[in-house]
């Protein structure tokens, strides 16, 4: 029976380095998903606040589907769907070939569509908070539609949407734990391996939970710094 401190040390004896590597994977997955989800979410929100009914309908269908499915199911649908889809595509050309879907990419896509459907709601309510006069003012000084959006509306939109988006980041961090189910070596999976090998499940799952807690605390410091920076730049 090894002591707890040896198990938690850094190096070949201990497991801390493995779990820290898992934390690296978790954070990079979340960081890779964030821009994808925000960008898609912004365009979906743009469609949903449009005066064109067909665009609104298309946007609403997107949100309804990806907000309604459980994240775990979305993940499996993407992962196995891509696997089966690519496999049958490849069989057309080379019948004996086999391929695996990268679970990082699958996780990125699945978490990205979920994030984007929630982000679109945040952006939508921010759009509604911006008075129509802002657009009219932009047009009246000769800006084009795209310029008005980029130079006038977007800076205000981001400031209004920031608290909601910060919340989505924290939810995203929690949701990344699901990718351990499709075999990506994130915090939870690494802790699970350590727990099985050493037969100390409480210790290692406890450490995993503490890692997530530390990430949440760190994020809230980062979020506060960003909010302060945005506040300083905003006109009074």
């Amino acid at each position: 029976m090894q002591s707890t401190w040896t198990l938690l040390s850094w190096g070949p004896e201990g497991w801390l380095d493995d779990i820290a590597y898992g934390a690296f994977i978790t954070v990079s997955l979340a960081l890779a998903t964030l821009p994808l989800g925000l960008l898609v979410g912004f365009f979906v929100a743009l469609a949903k606040q449009s005066s064109e009914p067909t665009l609104r309908l298309a946007g609403n269908i997107y949100t309804t589907i990806f907000r309604g499915l459980p994240e775990l199911l979305t993940l499996f649908l993407v992962y196995f769907g891509a696997q089966i889809g690519f496999q049958s595509l490849i069989k057309l050309f080379r019948p004996d070939a086999a391929m695996d879907v990268n679970s990082f990419i699958a996780g990125m896509v699945a978490l990205g569509v979920v994030l984007s459907s929630y982000a679109s709601e945040v952006f939508l309510s921010a759009f509604r908070a911006i008075p129509h006069g802002q657009y009219e003012g932009g047009y009246s000084i000769g800006l084009s539609k795209g310029q008005t959006m980029r130079l006038v509306v977007l800076p205000q939109l981001i400031r209004i949407a920031l608290p909601g988006l910060a919340n989505l980041w924290l939810v995203l961090l929690l949701n990344t734990a699901l990718v351990s189910a499709i075999g990506l070596s994130d915090i939870l999976r690494q802790a699970g391996i350590a727990a099985r090998v050493t037969r100390e499940p409480f210790l290692f799952f406890g450490v995993a939970v503490l890692f997530y807690l530390a990430l949440a605390v760190l994020s809230s410091y980062g979020i506060r710094a960003i909010e302060r920076a945005v506040d300083e730049r905003s006109p009074r």
Binding site: L57, T64, G68, L69, A177, L178, E200, L203
Partner: protein, 276 residues
């Protein structure tokens, strides 16, 4: 409708605006058409992949799984609601110790993934088997079902405590003062004046919490509970037929939509007196 009536309606209507085909309308129509094609493809796929043997083998299992999901969520939500009351009280209390304890509880369960909490309880507490056997609780923690209920109850209690606190604090202070000046006791004020107003605020977040619970309850499939997701995984691993996941998606989506529209209906109904 008679011609005269139709003419009257036509006269009342504003003139029809010719929308034309601006870029937005073209893009929107293409996107809606894409969704329609995707929906048709899904139906076509399900028809082409229709396999009565598979269906009749797994349909009862899916129904049992659905029942497991629903009962797991219902039990956890009710127990969590009960537990959320003291937590919300602690969060709002002036006592430093009480409020920091409640804050720690809420922060812990909202700051870590539900799946990690579930693993910690189901696998983690196995480390204390001798101790748990000594106090006779091992038969409880041995069962994945009870562990899932415990984890979900604690998790949803943390979220519901925040909903309850937010809703109570959204009621203006004047309501408390007004009731106090009428000589109402604090508990009476809470029950008869504050809570009815707070619940209107809380209805939507509560509805969201139920939806979130149903969605996140899918993770119990990973600790061997055969809920809807668990049965789906089982069916997929036996048959390698992708439609097993599609069916699960359809069922989850239907459940969530029914709940969402139900909440909206209740909200419309209980805020009727606020509409002008």
């Amino acid at each position: 409708m008679s011609t005269a009536a139709r003419e009257a309606v036509d006269l009342d209507l504003p003139p029809r605006v010719n929308r034309g085909w601006p870029r937005e309308r073209i893009v929107g129509t293409i996107l809606v058409a894409l969704w329609a094609v995707a929906g048709l493809c899904l139906v076509a796929y399900l028809v082409a992949a229709w396999n009565p043997e598979l269906f009749w083998r797994w349909a009862p299992a899916y129904l049992a799984g659905l029942w497991t999901t629903l009962s797991l969520c219902a039990i956890s939500l009710v127990l969590g609601a009960v537990l959320s009351v003291p937590v919300a009280y602690g969060r709002m209390s002036g006592n430093r110790l009480l409020s920091s304890l409640a804050y720690g509880f809420v922060y812990f369960f909202r700051g870590t993934p539900l799946i990690a909490q579930t693993f910690l309880i189901y696998y983690g507490l196995g480390s204390f088997r001798p101790q748990l056997e000594m106090v006779g609780l091992w038969s409880f923690f041995r069962e994945a079902w009870y562990c899932a209920i415990l984890a979900f109850t604690l998790n949803t209690a943390a979220y519901q405590a925040e909903i309850l606190r937010g809703a109570i604090q959204a009621v203006p202070r004047g309501q408390w003062e007004g009731a106090a000046s009428l000589g109402l006791h604090k508990l009476q004020t809470l029950w008869k004046v504050v809570l009815p107003q707070a619940l209107i605020v809380a209805l939507r977040p509560y509805g969201n919490e139920v939806v979130l619970m149903i969605k996140s309850s899918a993770v119990v499939a990973l600790i061997t509970v055969l809920d809807l997701m668990g049965q789906t995984r089982l069916a997929f691993s036996r048959s390698f037929d992708y439609q097993t996941y599609i069916w699960a998606g359809v069922i989850y989506l239907a459940m969530v939509e029914v709940l969402r529209h139900g909440t909206e209906w209740i909200e419309r109904r209980i805020t009727r007196h606020l509409k002008r």
